[in-house]
């Protein structure tokens, strides 16, 4: 199935470099925002930084400063607890003033640990309670399609989120209704809050599950920007597709910080001042 033309190295080199640079920016901003809140989901955001950056800078149809542009592609964040990694990208698109992030999570801020569509321009649907986003995303995709709008609807799911039964209701329903403009991306970082997914409640064979539910399935390295760009751009521009699409993006939870990559406890945490400075340096060095 991975027969989309590869990212053209010369033509796309600048774009790939830009996406990688924006992924680093998203990680650095994540560190900054969590330093304000004094609690946050570093590792969950780090695992999907390249996925988010590839979508927002290389794949999705968006307009600068127009978060409500009707023809835009939509993005729903199933694993909403990683929102701190998304907010900086939305600010980049001019959907709100980046300075608003300086008050991240403070009393009355629009920006909390989970994304809120009623408060933040550019959030296509609120999330936080796991398992809802594939359903809300399916609804958005059906609604746009019913009205002749060809927008793609991307839903980024956590792999632990797949424990939720509603995900599989949505998987059945979207396949039954051939909601082909719905693209689910699973951030397969292999960890949930209590540890290794296989130890908490196993989900393999995952590709087989999506296939059995009637979805087209692709697998990709979720930190390999050229591969992500090739695959996601190929899917988004494939107007002949007839089924919803699942992309299993293999990732490393905490990607970019050595001790976070090897300790699942960093699902939630906070870095004191000197540790934060060291983390920023490590992220820059690893980029």
């Amino acid at each position: 199935m991975n027969d989309f033309p590869s990212a053209n190295p010369t033509q796309d080199a600048d774009l790939i470099r830009h996406i990688e640079e924006r992924a680093l920016f998203a990680r650095l901003e994540t560190v900054r925002l969590i330093s304000i809140a004094k609690t946050g989901h570093y590792a969950s955001g780090f695992s999907c930084a390249e996925i988010l950056a590839t979508l927002y800078y290389g794949v999705m149809r968006l307009r600068q400063g127009e978060p409500d542009w009707p023809a835009r592609d939509r993005f729903l964040f199933g694993k909403g607890h990683a929102a701190a990694t998304l907010y900086p990208l939305l600010a980049d698109w001019g959907f709100f003033d980046a300075a608003e992030l300086d008050d991240y999570t403070r009393l009355g801020s629009a920006f909390g640990d989970h994304p809120d569509m009623t408060k933040i321009p550019g959030i296509d649907f609120s999330s936080g309670s796991l398992g809802h986003a594939l359903s809300t995303g399916a609804g958005v995709a059906m609604g746009t399609r019913m009205q002749g709008n060809s927008a793609n609807v991307f839903v980024l799911l956590g792999d632990g989120e797949l424990h939720e039964g509603q995900i599989w209701e949505a998987a059945l329903g979207a396949a039954h209704h051939d909601v082909s403009n719905l693209i689910a991306i699973v951030d397969r970082n292999d960890h949930s809050l209590d540890g290794h997914i296989g130890g908490v409640t196993g989900i393999e064979p995952l590709a087989d599950k999506w296939t059995a539910f009637g979805w087209d399935v692709h697998e990709v390295d979720g930190h390999d920007v050229p591969a992500l760009l090739t695959l996601l751009r190929g899917i988004a521009s494939d107007t002949a597709r007839t089924r919803p699409v699942a992309v299993i993006a293999k990732t490393v939870k905490g990607k970019g910080i050595s001790y976070m990559e090897s300790e699942f406890g960093w699902h939630l945490g906070w870095l004191a001042e000197q540790d934060e400075l060291n983390a920023i340096e490590e992220l820059r060095n690893n980029a």
Binding site: T118, D124, A138, V140, G143, G173
Partner: protein, 334 residues
């Protein structure tokens, strides 16, 4: 017409049920009319199109109909997603599954996000009598009423359901409709007035005002007639909108009547009775109040009419309850 060769004409199955019980036709027919009139309505259900009659909507507007299968939580969340694209989704299933099974989806995806989704909880209360507790919804008003920004409407009959659906088509905000099984006797007509949040007064009473909602309005009107025949001065309020609640009507009734009684096919905890008690208490009124409904219990199995009689929710039972209440001076009966 016989449903199969050799069967008696009285025999029936699911596909002929709607012809036998047309009371819910108004749901699908009104929504289909609204589509004809240009409203961006989408209707969906969770494998109950013969029970709620949405098959009739599907027949008229197949492109605006979504079958969600037995996936109530998915249906509610997807309806919220549909609403973000400018459509106005109406999704229907048994009230027990809508309000209880999909409660969190209603709270988080529909109400919190202020989406214009209309949730139809049908066969509410104990109308599914002998189907048992899994199919009874006697907590839904309490649960839905506690969700910020969600309007809660319980029409009293078929005509009022049609009026309420029309009113909803121009209402900004999510709504939970609590409806029965389409067998409530007629009170209103398609020409009656219906305004969301404004109750309907059926006579005033110096001795007692009975505030009823949904399926209990008709038996309450009959009970009031019976009590008036005995020389009592009894008024009735049809509180079709539980939220936003018509507090002024409650205040006026409290000022005019010696006592208030609420009647609902629901637990006396947190529903209409709870809502009225909150108003009286917060306004510092000492008007006697009796909340009539199901106590803190699960209903028995039985045919609905038998259950209504057992729980004093038929007109005779409501009249007896009211009479006992009025005659017992100095405090609410237990």
């Amino acid at each position: 017409m016989s449903i199969a060769p050799g069967l008696q004409p009285e025999s029936w199955h699911l596909l002929t049920l709607l012809e036998r019980a047309p009371g819910l036709h108004i749901l699908a027919d009104t929504l289909a009319d609204l589509v004809d009139e240009g409203h961006p309505i989408v209707a969906g259900t969770a494998d109950l199109k013969y029970s709620n009659g949405l098959i009739r909507f599907q027949n008229r507007h197949p492109d605006r109909y979504v079958q969600f299968g037995i996936s109530e939580q998915h249906m509610v969340s997807a309806a919220a997603g549909l609403a973000t694209t400018g459509l106005q989704p109406y999704v229907a299933t048994f009230a027990s599954f809508m309000a209880l099974l999909a409660c969190e989806q209603i709270r988080t995806d529909v109400a919190y996000t202020k989406q214009n989704v209309r949730l139809i909880g049908h066969h509410a209360g104990i109308t599914l009598g002998f189907y048992g507790t899994s199919h009874h919804a006697t907590e839904d008003l309490a649960m839905m009423r506690s969700i910020p920004g969600l309007a809660v409407i319980a029409p009293a009959d078929t005509a009022q359901l049609g009026l309420a659906l029309r009113a909803a088509s121009t209402y900004d905000g999510p709504i939970y409709f609590r409806i029965g099984r389409g067998q409530d006797p007629d009170i209103y007509s398609s020409q009656s007035e219906f305004i969301i949040g404004r109750s309907i007064q059926h006579g005033r009473g110096a001795d007692l005002t009975i505030i009823a909602t949904g399926s209990m309005v008709h038996p309450t009107l009959c009970a009031a007639e019976e009590l008036r025949g005995e020389g009592l001065s009894v008024g009735v309020i049809d509180m079709h909108t539980i939220k936003p609640l018509d507090e002024e009507a409650i205040m006026a009734a409290a000022a005019h009547s010696g006592a208030l009684m609420t009647v609902e096919e629901h637990s006396t905890t947190g529903g209409l009775g709870g809502a009225v008690a909150e108003v009286l208490t917060e306004r510092g009124l000492g008007t006697r109040l009796h909340r009539h409904g199901l106590k803190d219990e699960y209903a028995l199995i039985g045919p609905p009419t038998h259950l209504y009689r057992h729980y004093h929710l038929d007109s005779a039972g409501i009249a007896t309850t009211a009479r006992d209440f009025i005659n017992r001076r100095g405090g609410s009966p237990q």
